[in-house]
């Protein structure tokens, strides 16, 4: 019976996404290819001083992305430092330097890692004028970069890949804002709060008192899921009844996280003039998703481990209204997109169940990944897959009529090396640097034994892949982790973006080679299988050794 309800719940999500795939994918293709500006957009372009019809080379596009992100980090940092004098701050003091840096890096990079407990640290103004804005624009930046790469595949012999400012404004205004507004009202109807009342004391039934929090939560919640950001308004994120009150709001939030990432393959297919190429990418993403969700659900329903066995089920850190499957569906969705929101505490999952969210992130956030970043990550893997297929049969690799020469392959290879390097180096340094090691072991780690290593590994995996979820027992608000994770988030976001835009530039400059009998068809099941294989093998080979030291040791011994 439980299994049937679980399957129905997953089928509902699949049905909604299937219905949205064409209209939303086509809408996004129109948004990013249209020649027409809305009147309000023309006003904005004048205000910020850009000429919307002037296209940018990849270098100028990149410089714009970076400049915008630098300004974002500075603004979010300054807002936190000035919290004491901002309105609606609930009397909270300025956020300390190290934590402000970490949080600024976190929200600008679409990671939304939270070293802090929001109830105790952040007033409303920092949340809505700082963090919520980054929830919108970091998502818009991710989609913009993905669209720039798609233009690289679609164009022939051109120097330019679009105009970043136009992509940013259109993504924010035409796509994210209307969707967020509607979603926020739906969440409101479900019971998510939206007020400025601060904390209220109530006298309880037994004569005690209870503190109830308030805040502009629904507005932030909508864009948190829609933009695959994941930063909770409250400490426990979407497990909090004021962020996620019911089983149906839980399902709604799952749909919001998946909506744009799963529709972008359609946009890609449309823009390169072959929707079936988009379907192939979608198929690769969806098959990984289904397998991972099934595995996690079975592991948690199985409830292996001393504590779950004793309790009778793996309900530690899970909410009654969601149950096991509502929790695993959310956890899989949140870590396979780059959202990182949680509706249950991954730290308390069964040992192997807790490894699954980690593995999901280690895949590089491509199934379906974050808004935009999932598509560009998967397209880079497609380039690698085509290259490997080319090596096998001894032909020059081509993808979508573009020759994949040494430059393209070098950029793609560097791309897949960035996050593993950050994850493994960061984890290793945490246990290798004298002084830091003691601090990590005594202050940061919460659970003893190998589970403690898993907490640190999870943190760097989450930061470098811009996910933001955590084994939340870890105390990350220390000088080392605030700095190291902040740097990992910035490098894990922007080094890949540099490589992707360089790839876009180099592809756009090429002509188109006609398909011949020797061209590998990239819309068939064979290629989908190859792409999934490449994604899994790259991850497995990279991370298997460190996983044996953490979750595998805990779960299998």
């Amino acid at each position: 019976m439980g299994a049937l309800f679980a399957i129905l719940q997953a089928a509902t999500v699949a049905l909604v996404l299937a219905l949205a795939y064409r209209p939303l994918g086509d809408l996004m293709a129109r948004i990013y290819t249209s020649d027409r500006d809305l009147r309000v957009e023309r006003g904005l372009y004048r205000l910020i001083g850009v000429a919307p019809r002037v296209e940018q080379s990849w270098q100028v596009y990149l410089r714009s992305v970076l400049a915008f992100s630098v300004v974002g980090v500075l603004l979010v940092y300054l807002l936190q430092r000035a919290q004491a004098v901002l309105p609606f701050s609930l009397g909270l003091p300025a956020v300390p330097e190290g934590l402000s840096f970490n949080t600024a890096a976190s929200f600008v990079t679409n990671t939304n890692w939270q070293s802090y407990s929001p109830e105790l640290t952040l007033g409303y103004t920092v949340q809505f004028a700082g963090l919520a804005v980054q929830n919108f624009v970091s998502a818009a930046v991710g989609i913009a970069v993905a669209i720039a790469l798609v233009r690289g595949f679609a164009r022939r012999g051109e120097r330019t890949i679009g105009n970043f400012w136009v992509d940013l404004i259109r993504g924010s205004l035409r796509l994210l804002l209307p969707l967020a507004l509607v979603s926020a009202v739906v969440l409101l109807a479900g019971g998510v709060v939206q007020n400025f009342t601060g904390f209220t004391e109530v006298a309880t039934l037994t004569g005690g008192t209870q503190t109830l929090p308030g805040g502009p939560v629904a507005s932030q919640e909508a864009i948190k899921e829609l933009g695959t950001n994941g930063g909770g308004f409250f400490n426990v994120n979407s497990a909090h009844p004021f962020e996620n009150p019911t089983a149906w709001t839980n399902l709604f939030q799952v749909v919001l996280m998946l909506l744009i990432p799963f529709s972008l393959p359609r946009t890609f297919g449309r823009m390169v003039g072959s929707p079936r190429q988009g379907l192939a990418i979608l198929a690769a993403m969806a098959s990984i998703f289904v397998v991972s969700l099934t595995a996690l659900s079975l592991l948690e329903a199985g409830g292996a481990g001393t504590a779950p066995q004793l309790a009778g089920a793996a309900m530690e850190g899970k909410e009654t209204r969601f149950g096991i499957f509502g929790s695993t569906l959310f956890a899989s969705t949140s870590t396979l997109t780059s959202t990182g929101a949680v509706d249950s505490m991954h730290d308390s999952y069964t040992a192997l169940g807790g490894m699954l969210p980690m593995l999901n992130m280690m895949l590089g956030e491509v199934a379906p990944g974050g808004v935009g970043s999932g598509l560009y990550g998967m397209l880079v893997l497609a380039v690698i897959a085509v290259f490997i297929a080319g090596l096998l049969v001894g032909r020059t690799p081509e993808y979508l009529g573009k020759k994949l020469g040494p430059r393209e392959i070098k950029l793609a290879s560097l791309y897949i090396l960035v996050t593993p390097t950050l994850v493994l180096t960061g984890t290793a340094l945490s246990f290798a640097i004298p002084g830091v090691r003691e601090d990590v072991e005594s202050t940061s780690i919460w659970n003893p034994g190998v589970h403690g290593l898993s907490e640190v590994l999870y943190a760097f995996t989450s930061a470098a892949n811009n996910n933001g979820s955590a084994f939340a027992g870890l105390t990350a608000n220390t000088p080392w982790l605030n700095t190291a994770l902040g740097v990992a988030m910035l490098l894990g976001r922007f080094v890949p973006i540099v490589l992707v835009l360089a790839l876009a530039g180099s592809l756009a400059a090429q002509g188109k080679v006609p398909a011949t009998a020797g061209t590998l068809p990239t819309h068939r099941p064979l290629f989908v299988g190859l792409l999934v294989g490449v994604t899994v093998v790259v991850t497995a080979l990279t991370y298997f050794p460190v996983l044996t030291l953490g979750p595998l040791a805990e779960g299998l011994i």
Partner: protein, 203 residues
């Protein structure tokens, strides 16, 4: 020099774009949603507050409470909520799970103790105590328990209040919330609302 100038110009554009978007997406959007919430859905927007019969706010239908004495001992005349890791228990200013791992001995010990206590309090076998009764929720504010845990507590609550067991059992059955739309999530019982209804029974 030319690159310095163009870099400065790009950052100037970026700053203006960020400020304009902050006005629109930060302030404009947030206040628009707040206005909609306060005008069209004020009950939800303000925390789904629950009032007792005399009109006093006693909590939120979405946020759980503890029904214990000052020392944290369960009060037998009230249905008990799940264990909580939020502050001293159900602290709405400090939501938190325990984050204890599956092999953590602290968690194993805590579960064993809770199991023994719940079994003793409700006069049932330890093996029959449901999982939600001995595990802390993710939020520490879980307003619900499973129907099984609610049923387990019926005899004890009835005895403590001098009420008919069948009457309390019927109240519990009437308070079981089915899965959303018939198949989403799990069946639940909202503890605060159940206890409010229980207080009415006595009166």
């Amino acid at each position: 020099m030319a690159t310095t100038r163009s870099t400065a110009r790009t950052h100037w554009v970026a700053l203006r774009a960020m400020l304009v978007l902050t006005l629109l997406l930060g302030i404009g959007y947030t206040f628009a949603v707040t206005a909609i919430g306060q005008l069209a859905l004020p009950a939800q927007a303000n925390g789904s507050l629950l009032r007792s019969t005399d009109g006093e706010v006693v909590g939120s239908r979405l946020i759980g409470q503890s029904f214990t004495d000052a020392a944290g001992e369960p009060l037998p005349e009230w249905f008990q909520s799940r264990p909580s890791a939020a502050g001293d228990g159900y602290d709405g200013g400090a939501s938190s799970g325990s984050n204890l791992g599956p092999e953590n001995t602290d968690l194993v010990t805590a579960i064993a103790e809770r199991k023994a206590r719940a079994a003793e309090l409700d006069g049932v076998e330890e093996a029959d105590v449901p999982a939600d009764a001995v595990t802390a929720s993710a939020s520490g504010l879980d307003p619900h328990i499973s129907p099984e845990y609610a049923r387990q507590q019926v005899d004890r609550v009835a005895a403590a209040r001098g009420l008919d067991e069948a009457e309390v059992a019927a109240l519990v059955e009437s308070r079981i919330q089915a899965r959303d739309l018939g198949y989403l999530g799990e069946p639940t019982v909202d503890v605060l609302q159940l206890n409010l209804a229980l207080a009415e029974l006595r009166g």
